[in-house]
């Protein structure tokens, strides 16, 4: 063994370089694990196909109000186009939270212990984990973008680039959310709990599968839809994220698109901070 010596070559490296190398290592692990998880990949592919091709195409004819007597409002898009950005968000949601849940396995099966005895700071360990999960989630979001042609959504490269930026922000915030939840869970009952208790409620109340008409006044909206539903939709932060994505992908906004960006940024930072606080304490 020639490399062995009392002097430590690693001690001479700059601490920042060590932290970044470790960050890369943890990120890479996260991505590799996700790629090798066949179940996750199957979900990531089948979900958009079901939502876009089956639900979207199936409900498409019923979307335009003018066909049926009294017209309440008209969205200048097909249902397929309308739901497309939301399915991108849905796929990101599932994958982000799924990646974050692996924190539980890391804790259970000792991997976490192995990195906690390394010179990596806890913040970097968590950042690597969240960035890894977010990367996989953005990748799953891109799987939906591949279906753009079937949904009649024409995309320029610039659109795709802008969408990727928004998707990354959304994925980061949601992965952090997943870690926050996972940290609070002592016994793990399977992923179904997460999808039923967190993902689907958030998704359905985010104006993702039906629009809240922007041309109506606040009072009018509350006539068309029950009061409580409008309130929930307006308070759901995901509403604004989906809306921002819709603005980029199909050029339709119900709210100011900057609102979506701001909300995702704030939630991303706050949720990560909470996750880090828990992680440091544990």
């Amino acid at each position: 063994m020639t490399s062995a010596g009392p002097t430590a070559p690693t001690a001479r490296r700059s601490p920042l370089l060590i932290q970044l190398g470790g960050l890369y290592g943890i990120w890479l692990r996260e991505v590799k694990r996700a790629i090798r998880d066949r179940g996750q990949l199957i979900g990531g592919i089948s979900r958009p196909i079901l939502w876009v091709l089956i639900l979207g195409i199936g409900l498409n004819p019923y979307f335009r109000g003018e066909v049926y007597g009294e017209v309440t409002f008209v969205v200048p898009f097909t249902y397929l186009q309308f739901i497309f950005p939301a399915v991108v968000a849905l796929n990101i949601m599932f994958t982000s939270v799924q990646s974050a849940v692996s924190v539980i396995w890391d804790r259970e099966f000792g991997f976490l212990r192995e990195v906690l005895v390394s010179p990596m700071s806890r913040g970097m360990v968590l950042l690597g984990k969240v960035l890894g999960g977010a990367t996989v989630a953005v990748f799953h979001g891109c799987l939906v973008l591949l279906l753009a042609r079937f949904a009649d959504v024409p995309l320029t490269w610039l659109d795709v680039l802008k969408a990727l930026g928004l998707m990354a922000m959304l994925a980061f915030a949601l992965t952090s959310l997943g870690v926050v939840i996972a940290n609070r869970i002592r016994s793990f009952e399977g992923f179904g709990v997460f999808s039923n208790a967190v993902i689907l409620p958030l998704y359905f109340t985010s104006s993702s599968i039906f629009p809240i008409d922007p041309s109506l006044s606040r009072a009018q909206t509350r006539v068309v839809y029950p009061d409580w539903l409008v309130t929930i939709v307006e308070y759901n932060p995901l509403t604004y994220a989906v809306d921002a994505l819709r603005g980029v992908l199909i050029n339709y906004n119900q709210f100011d698109p900057r609102l979506g960006i701001a909300i995702m940024a704030i939630f991303g930072v706050v949720l990560f901070a909470i996750a880090l606080f828990d992680f440091r304490r544990a």
Partner: protein
């Protein structure tokens, strides 16, 4: 060594205590491990070995006391301490979905080992633990002995100077255990590292420089295996009396000599004169008698008052015992 403030010994532990609720897992433990020493921590289940290891590797805070690794306080300078440590935990901590090579590479990245050195170390360490052909296999496909060897290799990818191994050979067959000890022996000589091992296999610590016997969070004895045998290796007499009344009589008669009871047999501290006296009086009322010459086993027994093997029945043994008793679904 780079500016270690209190160098002198590789590991310094002083009056370390740790309490979990009502259990006092560590109760004022103190010892020093010298540079390049092969040091064993021997104790039955629940003695506090893992608690001590976790404090040394900086993931658990002691309630009181000091622990230094290469001169660095594990509470105040955990990063400096960690850089010097190579750790093998009691529970497996490999990533099952990564390959053998990827597991080692991840460790190298996280510990900031430069790429060239990383490659070289991975190759060397895989060769050392004889897993070179397995480099591209998923960790999940390895046997438990191979996983253990991989974890040892992993602990050596960075510039570890002090190895902490928590029961590295528990649950492995004799052949694998021998191999693991031979790797550790080679490492100690070639890389000049200090090794602290916990174990409850008494026969394994014969070759160690020093052995520290712990139980109930306290250090019971600390010396070379030879000295331990000489000083506290009290000669013991193991007798199996005929019938319960004889047993009771012997127990009351020699209460002051009682060293332990294991099943039917009674263990008494003894010497040659005592054996003669006992035989003269109870010779006809004893079914069997054995003189146990001092060994680490008897040292342990006289220190802790219990037999290690009985205490250490693992899951496998208890399952087997259950099957032998004719537990459900075994017939």
């Amino acid at each position: 060594m780079t500016g270690a403030p209190n160098s002198g010994s590789a590991i310094h532990v002083d009056a370390l205590s740790k309490r979990y609720g009502r259990t006092l897992a560590l109760d004022g433990v103190s010892f020093d491990v010298g540079d390049n020493e092969l040091f064993a921590l021997l104790g039955p289940n629940g003695a506090g070995k893992t608690t001590l290891m976790h404090i040394l590797c900086t993931i658990l805070r002691p309630d009181s006391g000091v622990a230094l690794i290469g001169g660095f306080d594990v509470v105040k300078q955990p990063l400096a301490a960690r850089r010097r440590l190579g750790i093998v935990f009691q529970e497996p901590s490999l990533d099952d979905r990564l390959t053998v090579h990827e597991n080692l590479n991840l460790h190298g990245l996280v510990f900031g080992v430069p790429r060239k050195l990383r490659r070289q170390r991975i190759e060397e360490m895989l060769a050392l633990v004889e897993l070179t052909e397995w480099a591209d296999k998923r960790a999940r496909t390895l046997s438990s002995g191979m996983k253990r060897r991989l974890e040892i290799a992993r602990a050596l990818i960075h510039d570890s100077e002090i190895m902490l191994l928590d029961e590295p050979t528990a649950g492995l067959d004799a052949q694998t255990r021998d191999r693991i000890w031979s790797y550790i022996g080679r490492l100690r000589n070639e890389r000049q590292i200090t090794v602290l091992v916990t174990t409850h296999y008494i026969e394994e610590v014969e070759g160690f420089d020093r052995v520290c016997v712990v139980d109930h969070g306290k250090v019971l004895a600390l010396d070379t295996p030879e000295a331990l045998k000489r000083d506290c290796g009290q000669q013991l007499l193991r007798i199996v009396p005929k019938g319960e009344d004889n047993r009771q009589e012997i127990l009351t008669r020699y209460a002051d000599r009682l060293a332990g009871e294991a099943g039917e047999s009674i263990l008494l501290t003894s010497d040659d004169a005592f054996v003669e006296a006992l035989l003269a009086e109870y010779g006809g009322r004893i079914r069997s008698l054995a003189i146990e010459v001092p060994s680490l086993e008897t040292v342990f027994l006289s220190l802790t008052g219990r037999e290690l093997r009985d205490q250490a029945a693992g899951a496998r043994e208890s399952t087997l015992a259950f099957g032998k008793r004719g537990g459900e679904h075994t017939r």
